[in-house]
Symmetry: C2
Subunit: 490 residues, 2 copies
């Protein structure tokens, strides 16, 4: 399948007038969330994937804003035919609480003062970000996420989703992340925050009517940027190459390419990010620690989702051992978890760059489904004693082509299709008995989707009732539904 | 042997009125060097070890300044009975050129303006630091260093010594260092420099009459400090421990111990270091690259010293691969080199902390000597035809107890000692023939010192003539000399 783009997209905003109570106990009087969404939400709203962004990300995960040359930050995996296939899934990405790209944060107007919050904005947590995202899902009337996926701080949100709302998440993908912030990560964040606070233009957070603390924010970004690259990738990218000169300058202008690059990155960042947001979001990262009474396994006790944990070999900010600790904790809590270490020299940023590996790993995980993952749960059924006309009416009401037939115990006895109804009309059959198929194929909920697809293909049938051990009908799976979710090409 | 302290020490200063031409071509009109020295310089000035300090170090390497509670920065290995044994060696450590602890640097008075240099100080290199140290050795009339030793930036100086002055160095020890600064190291340095330059109090380097740029300098130190610790050591030292509180503060005061620690380190540093010096020294580090036309082996072509290269397993700022590259280049240039990786969780700082391993590794390397390393080269000899009286006179003139006897070809034929002279007096012998020992033990220059020591002990003799393949006497080794250099305890 050719990998395509979601095309031109727009960031939307939705405002919730109900207050949001934060983990600190503080109350946020109202909440605006900026988001983007790609693909189409299923009628039963079961194909939604929430993408959580990292520290400096935003809701613009894929496609192009009008006039832009660069696509959203995770365009490599989001789009038609990509792992996060917008032909199959409904992809949502929202700017985090505390951010500065449209979601309520320190740059927002405090309704109590009609001025930007600045430092009067309450300190937030990763859990608060997740609670804000939940509002957005309620807005879409999504009861359960097909998956929640994130890298770096996005991975912290994904983990927190699974722990806070175990019934709302089917799959969790955590990339280059951790279940708790380490002292080294906190140290880098605190130096970055100190750089911002040391800038006189920061003015205790009250700078919105004056100069931004660009020197401090730029420094913060330069520090962070080093941690996103690996030693190897810096050797490859810069080496000891000089910038715009043939020999050392013996002065304090820029000598090396790597210096020039860092300054460029730092400067560019000040045009798109808010210094106070940087303080709030890094603080939320520092506070991140899912362990309960020192036990990470305990944190995952109620978790129901399946997990994919991905680490990056050259990531020294979120080294693989932190991912392995998550895997160990999940396994010991009897959670279904897959682990994968991406071999890459790109360092932490590899999850934004390793197009091939990311598509392969995400695609494989999302399509390794069981029937329970994809079946239609509230499938209408018939009892054998109804008339053909009653059966036809039920089909039309529910817009379905297949009606499992059950006995008085609810056990599967046959199936009737719209084609059977047509046949009865042609042949003038009058009783359901005469048209229903009794030797009916069915699927079990634990069965991998692939094997059910094979059975349907082999027998030229387009739907399977899903039954439990007592042959009770608990759902229905149709070829049409499967082809949308899984794709024919896999 | 009990490891002792060098006791109370004082930093000395020496000023050289001759100008120093720098690698940039700039000329420094005069040069003051601050240094400390421990132990006693041999009569033949052959036991001097130069210690080179790291970025933020100074000349106070060991012992205590009057009133101080903490000893010098490398007291763990310097002192009586330690690897850098002040009973055997004469240890010198000088503050680097560009520093702020007594050696000429940006805080010094520019003789042309009678004001502190500030940014009018010329940009310096590691090579310039080495050239300045050479002046100090000339001051002591030291022709050849027994060893030059340094960790981190000190290692860069040690390597540069061996390349610039191959005839002046017998042994080189390079710890947790590199033959060239990597882009990641340059990146961290440039962020640190940017932090200083971003501080309005820096004022383009003209702050000596006003406030120091303490916020910038503190930030620079905080960044650097993270790179000196390892992820593991930070887990062990801080974990996610809170500072002076039982729960998260939900504000922007310090939450975690690691934050408090970094701020303490940053603040403390501003009381002992100069911001401009930090700019100059980090620039010298960035410029460090010993390779010649891209070849590191080429850089070591004229090198004559023996090398010990030491890396630290958890050092991610100067990772072991950088040390291994030095070893490879030295080996391919046919230089005698030993390599050792210290297993330690302490990160880069391990060379300042791993007392046991550092003493063992340094001690073993320094004492793994050959006879050529320790023999007395200009040992007087006799020919067989001199009188007993002439032999005695020669002993007295040269203050020696042993006189090898040679034939007309210069080949060893015997030895005469002051004890033999005494014996001739007692027994009234009149000819040298009657008292000289003909069945004489000797040593070869390539022989390890240990084996010669054994032979002397076994045969109860206190000196060995050293002879070449043609049995020509090329020197003498005495028990007295050995015991001073090697120590009896090894």
């Amino acid at each position: 399948m050719i990998r395509g783009s979601v095309g031109t997209v727009k960031t939307e905003q939705v405002t919730f007038k109900e207050s949001l109570t934060l983990e600190s106990g503080e109350i946020l009087p109202e909440l605006t969330i900026a988001y983007e969404a790609y693909g189409t939400l299923d009628r039963d709203r079961s194909n939604a994937i929430l993408i959580c962004h990292a520290l400096s990300g935003d809701s613009h995960a894929a496609g192009y804003h009008a006039g832009d040359e660069k696509p959203g930050w995770w365009d490599i995996v989001i789009g038609p035919g990509k792992a996060l296939d917008t032909d199959q899934y409904f992809i949502i990405c929202s700017n985090v609480l505390g951010g500065c790209k449209g979601t309520t944060g320190p740059t927002s107007i405090n309704p109590k003062t009609n001025k930007p919050y600045g430092l009067s904005f309450p300190v937030i947590t990763i859990g608060d970000m997740v609670n804000a995202q939940r509002r957005l899902l309620e807005h879409f009337n999504i009861q359960r996420l097909f998956a929640v996926i994130g890298g770096s701080m996005g991975g912290m949100q994904a983990l927190t989703w699974s722990a806070l709302f175990p019934d709302l998440v089917s799959r969790v993908v955590v990339i280059a992340s951790t279940a708790y912030s380490t002292p080294q990560q906190i140290a880098f964040n605190e130096v970055a925050r100190s750089a911002i606070r040391s800038d006189p233009d920061w003015n205790h957070g009250n700078y919105y009517e004056n100069l931004q603390p660009n020197r401090g924010l730029s420094l913060a970004r330069m520090i962070a940027h080093i941690t996103y690259l690996s030693d190897e990738s810096m050797h490859q990218k810069f080496g000891r190459g000089l910038q715009g000169k043939d020999e050392l300058g013996y002065d304090f202008t820029t000598d090396f390419q790597v210096e020039s690059y860092l300054h460029y990155q730092g400067d560019k960042f000040t045009h798109r990010f808010d210094a106070n947001s940087y303080l709030y979001i890094t603080k939320a990262i520092d506070y991140h620690d899912l362990s309960v009474n020192g036990s990470l396994s305990e944190a995952f006790r109620s978790v129901k989702a399946k997990f994919l944990i991905v680490s990056i070999s050259s990531d020294w900010l979120y080294p693989p051992y932190l991912s392995q600790e998550i895997v160990t904790a999940l396994s010991s809590a009897n959670v279904d978890v897959e682990y994968c270490e991406i071999r890459s020299n790109f360092g932490h940023d590899a999850f934004l760059l390793e197009e091939g590996q990311m598509n392969y790993i995400l695609g494989r995980f999302l399509s390794s489904l069981t029937i329970a993952d994809v079946m239609k749960v509230q499938a209408p059924t018939l009892t054998g004693d109804v008339t053909i006309k009653e059966a036809a009416e039920l089909m039309i009401t529910h817009s379905v082509n297949h009606l499992p037939v059950i006995d008085s115990e609810g056990a599967l006895t046959g199936i009737v299709t719209s084609w059977d109804i047509s046949r009865s009309v042609a042949r003038e059959f009058t009783s359901l008995d005469e048209i229903m198929t009794r030797d009916v194929f069915f699927a079990s909920p634990e069965e991998p989707v692939d094997s059910a697809v094979k059975r349907m293909d082999l027998n030229h049938i387009s739907a399977l009732p899903v039954v439990d051990e007592k042959r009770q009908v608990i759902g229905l799976i149709t070829a049409e539904r499967l082809s949308r979710l899984i794709g024919r090409c896999r």
